[in-house]
Every structure is written in structure tokens, then in C-alpha cells.
Subunit: 401 residues, 2 copies
């Protein structure tokens, strides 16, 4: 039985922690599992490498950035493999390229196109523990690529699929997925299970435990994901197919700071509507999160603050071309979202959200909902308080009935 485990950077932050992970992997191996261990870079390594890069170049070429950053996982994979070997179990480490993670050529944010894990299968057949560098792959042009943020989780899920693994565990520094960030809401409760769709929505709206891309992939291939702490033996959260949900209920609150809103007024005459605007923003790699049409026919878009410079460049150009009448920016916002299957289609839940926040004097500027979530924008300074208010209003500290 193949088990894929992924350990994050904080679980591998020092030689002692690496030895600890080695013992954990061996304890699984002793239970007869064929172990494939995906590792991130040791904590802070990636930041240190990037700091070096920006010391020698203002805009490091992405291809060279990938060459540099992949070093981080190579260090942790070889050290973990050494640690396992020194405890008397055979281990072998593989880079993304060696274990057949084939990607497209989008350096620093490549997508996995294929997984050809022949070498992993060979070594598992010999009884070895296989340690794999997460976050990295190789393009068909034999260039080293990286998968962007959360890439090691994505590596783990892709390998679990390609190897038909029975288990895929994401080992991290928290006990699983919670009803809210426990640092913000002390009453936050660990969720024993979540559907893929709920986890995807939670990850997209600020839940930090897993990256949306890895959840997307798990959903696509129906790989159950166990998220738990590498520092405790506590049970974590299982993300899996949940079947038909019997009842609509709010399951978690997520919060994202650093948001902004763009208000657009379209030209009254000879306008071509919203689509050329969307296309131009998308071409400039600006991710738009929420969209709503205001009363006066204007349009409001929310986005992360880091996309503002590119977005304003695009909108200025569209205005010059007459495709946009005018735009304004509102910065310093946070999004607060509630997540749960079916809640977006239930107007009673949205009403409860508004009244809970307004009762405490928090103005909701902007709101949007999908089948699985309702998101409101509030001023950034009120983000934590709004999260706590909603956690209480929807009684998320109580076990689900």
C-alpha cells in the first residue's frame, strides 16, 4: 500500500526536526506502507535565496529564479534521505525532474502536464523509502520549473494520483483545518472533515493550510487528503467526497487582508461592455475575485492589493481608448467569507451575516456570493473583529449536529 506524505518547511526547519520526520516516516514504513515523502524547502531557505537574487538583479529572470529556488527542496530531500539511511532504512531522494513531474514552461508558476513516476516505482519495488523534492518539475524542453505557491502540496497530490496511493497526508504545523484561524478566533474548532468544494472555497478566500491548486487537483482525481500536524499525534482534517449534503450549514469563516476594490463606469455611448475590460485585465495576469454591478450601472471588482499597479495600468490604457469612462480605487479592505455547501443560495444566511456585522457597527461595503460562500468586504482594521463576530453568530464553536 502506497502512502504519500508531504512535510512543510516548518516541519523540516532544523537538522533535529529532519531527524524527527525521518523517525515518523520510518514508523509508517514499519507498518508495511510503501512511503513516498514529498518535502518543501527548510523554513526560511526560499526567502534567503530570493534575498540573494534581489541583491544581484532588480528583476531576476524567471528561468534563473527557478534554477535558484529549486535548490531549497534539494537540500531538504537529501538531508531527509541521509537521516532515514542513518537510522538503518534505505532511502533515495529524487528531484522533480528525476521523478517525472512534467510541467509546462511557465517559469515560477508552471502547471503539471504529466507525471511519469517510473523511478519512484522502481525504488519502491526494491523496498526503499522515496523522498521527493516538492514544488518543482521539468518542462519538455528539459528546463527546471517551479509550481508557484503551495507547489509542494500539488506535487504530493499529483504523485498520489499517478502512483494510485491509498493515502495522501499533508503534514504541517497546525492540527488541521479549523472553523477560523485560531490566532484570530480562540474558540475556533478543528473540522474533522470537509468536502473538496468547501476546502477549495476556504483556501481561495484566505484559509492558509492548503493552496487552492492542490485542492483542485485532489478534487479532479478524487484523492482524499488528510491534513494534520507533524508535531502532534492528534487527528487532523480529512478532505474527501462528502456525497449529498443533507443540510445547509456554515462550516468556516475565512479572512483575507490586503484587498482593494475598483469601481468602473462604462461609457454610455459606443461602449463595448465589460468583456474587453476583463480580457485586458486577464492578459495582464490581474486576478479578479468578486464582481458586482452597482445601482448607477457602474461595476465594482475586488482584487488583491498586489495586482493594483498592473490593473491601473490596464484601466488607464482602456480609458485612453474610450472603452472605459472612468475608474476609481478603494484600498485598505479585507474580505471576510463564510463557507459551507449551499449557503450562497440561501438568502436567510446572507441576511444573518449583514445584520450580525452591522449590529456591531461594521459596515459591509460590498458583497458577493457563490453556491459555497458569501463574501463581504470590510475595512482592513475590522477584519479580525468581523471574523470573530461571524464565528459566534453562526455558532461555529459548537460541534456540528
Amino acid at each position: 500500500m502506497i502512502c504519500v506524505q508531504k512535510y512543510g518547511g516548518s516541519s523540516l526547519a532544523s537538522p533535529d526536526l529532519i531527524k524527527r520526520v525521518a523517525r515518523q516516516v520510518i514508523s509508517q514504513k514499519k507498518r508495511g506502507k510503501d512511503m513516498v515523502v514529498v518535502v518543501s524547502a527548510m523554513k526560511d531557505t526560499t526567502d534567503e535565496l530570493l534575498r540573494l537574487a534581489y541583491q544581484v538583479a532588480k528583476e531576476p529572470p524567471r528561468r534563473e529564479t527557478d534554477m535558484l529556488l529549486t535548490v531549497g527542496e534539494r537540500i531538504s530531500m537529501s538531508l531527509l534521505s541521509m537521516a532515514i539511511n542513518s537510522l538503518g532504512f534505505e532511502a533515495i531522494s529524487f528531484t522533480g525532474s528525476q521523478c517525472g513531474i512534467i510541467t509546462d514552461s511557465r517559469h515560477t508558476n508552471a502547471r503539471i502536464k504529466d507525471v511519469r513516476p517510473f523511478r519512484i516505482e522502481e525504488e519502491l519495488a526494491k523496498g526503499k523509502i522515496v523522498v521527493v523534492a516538492g514544488f518543482q518539475g521539468v518542462s519538455e524542453e528539459k528546463e527546471v520549473t517551479t509550481l508557484g505557491r503551495g507547489g509542494s502540496d500539488t506535487t504530493a497530490v499529483a504523485l498520489a494520483y499517478a502512483l494510485r496511493a491509498k493515502e495522501c497526508e499533508i503534514l504541517t504545523d497546525v492540527d488541521g483545518v479549523f472553523t477560523a484561524d485560531p490566532r484570530v478566533v480562540p474558540q475556533a474548532r478543528r473540522l474533522p472533515h470537509l468536502s473538496y468544494e468547501e476546502m477549495l472555497e476556504l483556501a481561495s478566500f484566505g484559509g492558509k493550510v492548503l493552496h487552492p491548486r492542490s485542492v483542485e487537483l485532489a478534487l479532479k482525481f478524487r484523492i482524499p487528503l488528510a491534513v494534520r500536524s507533524s508535531f502532534s499525534l492528534r487527528q487532523g482534517t480529512l478532505i474527501k467526497e462528502m456525497g449529498k449534503v443533507e443540510k445547509i450549514c456554515v462550516r468556516a469563516v475565512a479572512c483575507r487582508k490586503g484587498m482593494a476594490v475598483l469601481f468602473l463606469t462604462l461609457p454610455k455611448v459606443k461602449g463595448k461592455g465589460i468583456s474587453p475590460i476583463f480580457r485586458s485585465l486577464s492578459d495582464a495576469d490581474v486576478n479578479i475575485d468578486l464582481l458586482s454591478k452597482g445601482e448607477g450601472g457602474g461595476i465594482a471588482l475586488s482584487l488583491r492589493r498586489e495586482y493594483l499597479p498592473s490593473a491601473e495600468r490596464v484601466l488607464g490604457e482602456l480609458k485612453r481608448q474610450g472603452l472605459l469612462d472612468n475608474y476609481s480605487v478603494l484600498d485598505g479592505l479585507a474580505s471576510v467569507s463564510i463557507i459551507g455547501s449551499g449557503i450562497g443560495e440561501n438568502p436567510g444566511i446572507a441576511t444573518k451575516l449583514f445584520s450580525a456585522l452591522e449590529a456591531e457597527g461594521i459596515k459591509v461595503g460590498f458583497c458577493s456570493s457563490s453556491r459555497l460562500s458569501i463574501t463581504s468586504l470590510v475595512v482592513e482594521g475590522a477584519a479580525e473583529r468581523a471574523t470573530r463576530i461571524l464565528h459566534r453568530a453562526f455558532e461555529l464553536d459548537k460541534a456540528e449536529g
Copy 2:
């Protein structure tokens, strides 16, 4: 015209030094040269990585050590490539594997079997500066290997040959090859040129500027090597084919500490002679430097101290098998060698060496000569003094006539 330059770790020790190297490479490129730049790991990186390895494992497997150590050159190659790009010149970096350095499978000490630099040639044809990770290669089993000490010099020479480069420059932190180590002999003089054979002998007997393997390769392929400082514009040392040497003269003094001698007595009856002893030592990877037959029929072998444990294990076993009567060890020695074409065949020079040392009260315990060198063993504490005495006795501070 292709020019291969190799920069050592001290020339790349910081982001500022890397930018400095980038400017030097560009200045060559501006002169119309097709530049291939081989880099070592930034100073101290390799030691730091090894320290991590020994913190997780007492005896790190060699394959994993190679995975770990090759990280060092990847960091410096991507940073140098970024620095060159940021100065407006196109550069691309390649790992040993990507630029076709094919080796055997002897991890941590692999030998180059073939060089297939297709990707380098392609990128040079596009006008790019190519930056290559030194010290590393890939085996035919697609395993990452390293070339052992001095490996980056070897990479540079091998690429210069495969690319038919017109120039191969070894850029380091000293001004070239000197008549002796300038830290030991302040009067030491830079040698403007040396023959391959002299350089090889000098490197073997403790000259630290180049590793013997890279010189061997340069000799084999007749690649002229320019050794100079990356920190100054001064002329360095050119290592090349010297034609017939007109006169026999001592050209340099080299010194190696950490030496020991093994004295062996062979059995009088049923002995099989010295050859099974040599074979056993060689099988245990013990390198023997010098050999002399003593008066009583005994044999003396000199070797580096680090080989003593393995050597004693082998000799103990041979003694049990009756192939060896007895052995003893003399530790705490240094070798002091004088180097120059033809000097070993000139008894007058050996006599001069003995009398110069003995006149200053230094006892010469053990001596050996080859065509290109005469080596004597002295107590370790007298090594520096012996070097200075010989440098003076052979008037190496004076320019060659």
C-alpha cells in the same frame, strides 16, 4: 572565438563579488568572445552543506551527498546569470547534467567519461553568455555526481576541449602559480609559465592553485591554461606545452603537511613480495605517494595521514595472512619537494637539497625522486622552515636567466 573562464568560490563569495564577476565576463563578451563561465560554489557554502549533512547522519550516503553538494554551484550559477542579465546581456545557466558532463557512477569522486555540450553550443550561437555549474555531472543512470576536489577546474578544462575553446582561464584569489606559497616564503615569485608536467608535479606535491586532475586533463588534450586573479588585472601563469627544456633548473618548492610513513618488513620465507601488499592497499583506496627500499630489505611507504586508519586495517590483515612480517608507523611528517624538468635525474641537485637542509639542522628522513621532482620528508614542525631554506638555496627568488 570561444573563451572558457572558471571562477572559484572566493571570487563569488558575496552578491557584490558576483556582480563584479558579471562585469568582468561582460567585458570579455564585448571584445567579441563567446563566453562560457564555469562557477564553483560561493565560498563556505559547501562546508555549510556538509555540516548540515553530518548533523543528520554519521555517514551520509555518497549519492545523497552529491545531491546536496551540487546545490552550491546551482546557487552561484543562477545568481551570476541573473547579475549578467540585469546588466543588459543575455545569459543562461546550465547544471552539469544540462550541459552534458557525463561521468561514471563513483559518487563524490566521479570521472568525466564524455562531454556533450549541445545546449551550450546552441545558446552560444544565439549570442548568449553561458554560465555552467562546475564540479558536477550526471551518470548514464541519470544520477547526479560530483567530481571531487578541484572538480570545477576539471569541468572548465573538459568543456574547453569539447567546445574547442581558444582560451581556458582559471580565475582565482591569487595572482598565479608561485615558486612557493607566498604565505610561507615572502620572496616567492610568480612563474610566468610552466609546463603541464611541472604543474602536475607541483599540484601533486602540495601546490594548491590547481588540482592535479584538471592539469592531467589539460595535458592530455593540450589545452593551455591561464591561471590568474579575478581581483587584479595582473598577468598570471600560463601552463602550456614547453617544448624541449633547454636547461635543467629547479622552478618551485611545494610542501604538504599531514604526512606519515609506513615501514614494512616482508616475511623471509614463503613471502609473495610487495605486489599483493600494494594491491590490497589500492583496493582499500589508500594512495601511496613515495616508496623506497631500506637497507635491511624493509620497505618504506609514505602517505597522507587521512589514509592511515584504512592502511593499518589492511596491513593488520596481511600480517594475519602471513604475507607481511611486521609494520610500524611514523606520523607527524611533512613532505617538501622541489620541482623542475629533469632535476630528479641530476644527483647534484639532490645533494644540494640534503646539504642545504642538514646545514640548518633539519634531518631528512626519507627521500624519493622522479624525473620532475625530488621529495624529502621532514618533521611537520620544520615544514615552513625547510621550504624557505630550499627556496633560498635554489635561488628561486631570482628571475630565471
